[in-house]
Symmetry: none
Subunit: 207 residues, 4 copies
Amino acid sequence: MRVQQPRALERYQRILDAALRVFSRRGYHDSSVDEIAGKARTSKGGIYFHFPNKEAIFLALLDRATARLLAKIDEAMASQTDPIARAEAALLAVLRVFAKHRALARLFMVEALGAGREFHSRMADIRSQFAAIIQRQMEEAIRQGIIQPIDTEVASHAWFGALNEVITSWVFSGRPERLEDAYAALKPLLMQSVGLNHRSDRPVPER
Amino acid sequence: MRVQQPRALERYQRILDAALRVFSRRGYHDSSVDEIAGKARTSKGGIYFHFPNKEAIFLALLDRATARLLAKIDEAMASQTDPIARAEAALLAVLRVFAKHRALARLFMVEALGAGREFHSRMADIRSQFAAIIQRQMEEAIRQGIIQPIDTEVASHAWFGALNEVITSWVFSGRPERLEDAYAALKPLLMQSVGLNHRSDRPVPER
Amino acid sequence: MRVQQPRALERYQRILDAALRVFSRRGYHDSSVDEIAGKARTSKGGIYFHFPNKEAIFLALLDRATARLLAKIDEAMASQTDPIARAEAALLAVLRVFAKHRALARLFMVEALGAGREFHSRMADIRSQFAAIIQRQMEEAIRQGIIQPIDTEVASHAWFGALNEVITSWVFSGRPERLEDAYAALKPLLMQSVGLNHRSDRPVPER
Amino acid sequence: MRVQQPRALERYQRILDAALRVFSRRGYHDSSVDEIAGKARTSKGGIYFHFPNKEAIFLALLDRATARLLAKIDEAMASQTDPIARAEAALLAVLRVFAKHRALARLFMVEALGAGREFHSRMADIRSQFAAIIQRQMEEAIRQGIIQPIDTEVASHAWFGALNEVITSWVFSGRPERLEDAYAALKPLLMQSVGLNHRSDRPVPER
DNA sequence: GATGAATGAGACTTCATTCAT
DNA sequence: CATGAATGAAGTCTCATTCAT
């Protein structure tokens, strides 16, 4: 539905805001369009003017959140030049956004997976986008001789997975208190995994 | 629920087998008790004789699958003595079971997460159990001086997360063709991440 | 839905009875499944156990009514041997059934037409069946030399149409008081239209 | 509703044109005001400026179509003097209009009936108007001694019904290819039904 | 014990109608 | 005048759960 009036645009955003709250609280299936409408201070019909169906709300939400997350990542990376520092900045940016918006974390880490078949390909896309960002930095690091050649596809997925798991268990358990603290413990593992000495951020010499 | 007679026991298992097929194909919410009944060659009433509700089927299935997986892990670890080798054996055992039963992988990696609030605490438990197995081996390795002291809680979660991600992306994309191949690429990363030279499986000397 | 228990069969019929009442009173679109359920002393779910959707209820009703009407026609025709008398008997049988069950008349004459695209081919079938009965008798009459050769396809449709119109205007206006009276006035027209002198039921000699 | 300005009048007609297309394609209930608005190159609000509700659009359309049809009939009858020839001219005029505008035929023959209770009395009126035209000619023919006295009310309805049926089955089946061909076969039946020899258009002498 | 049948709450979705700009 | 936007009632259908045989 192409929206033309500014009032409508605002309501469109309000619906997505409400959807984020509801979906992340109840999960996709247990969320009702009625509740989203209520929280968005609009009516069921108002929702269906902007979205063709419930699935589309979820996808739009996912897309908006992904775009915002990627923007934050770009911004964070821009302030670094060293590829490893850039990769780190990306990870930290993700962590910070999720730490600030736990609902968003739940959306990406939990609900998006189990919401149904229809979302899997979209989620696979999103996961790929994030992994690819890390992968690109790893390849640049290899090119610059900062790290030894490795299988960057697997490595980037492993980094991404490690981060995911930390976030997910935080979503479920609430530990650590400050999600960002987790990064301090995770960082040396990630660095060493690609052959970097985490103290010097310099390669570990092979024996 | 209380099952004693052999006929009943057999039907109970048949229901779980059917449930695994249906849940992993359609996801929790889109699976109907009717379809499970059909695939288990019984009736809706028959299901409700054995289980109080749909949720209980899913939980019983999760429990059975977890127990079987843990048994496989125990068995695999029993043939190793070196703690790092034991940890590796555990990871490989998980990978092999999932590689053989993709439905099971989907159940654990995808459906269990998004099935709804009710399952989250149970899933958190299960994740902890797996991470704890790895954590114990890491601690033993530290005790034996094989690796330097590290934050084993974070490290074990990171290992688990990396493995998860590899499995999940395999579930979604079907790549790599043989899931076990992924381990070959993953292993050096994991080893190095805890400060082991993957070629010698010996510690990387700090500079 | 295959029904096995006698209780279910009875309810199936009760649903159709209720559907006839509701559809003929409100029309297809303005009838709600809820109201049919209420009138059938069952629940919405009960209806959907027996029928896959609202359309199927309507079609089943149409089929049952058609079968009953055709049976009445067969019965009425069986008591006559002369083809013209048999055709007349068929028309009168239709008239009598509709006169007795005005709801049925409304169903066939009004609701079935406007219920929607999906019903058109079924209705065309039904119309053909009725016209074909008359057509067969006309052809037999020609074969026996009772009437002159005519285009029996058009003639049977014309007879059927004339009858329809009389019934339809009765459905709408309630005139004549007794629908069967209409036949007395219609009969001579029909007879003459195929070249029979209505007084003698013998052919009108061409000049 | 009150339309005076030329721009408004033109839009009013455009809405009716669009409504005819939409209603005859989808039926009354499955037509949405939105689609009519789209096809009329206006907006929902634009429609509701001209019509108080959807029903009013349909009725206005019915009225406009009826008026045009009656005008065609008048025109056709004007060129004849013999009452039987005039009746025939009327029937042929109807047939020709419908043959040319199948959408119109569908509107009158199918949608108008099943559109709902609200339209029944209006449709009864319209049917009466058509039947009355034929009835008047029949009475004139009787007065002039061209045909024997008959029940003109029933006879006119029978003629009208026969014509209806031919048109309806053409709407549904598309046969005959040219609707006008149907009249050739129908004419002798109608003539004979009122006691006219179709070859000479002269009365059939009673024996 | 087991099965087919029934229930009923609740979900999504549509759309005629109204309203604000 | 016209449009896009919003409303809200109502409808069909699903399905976990319960019940009667």
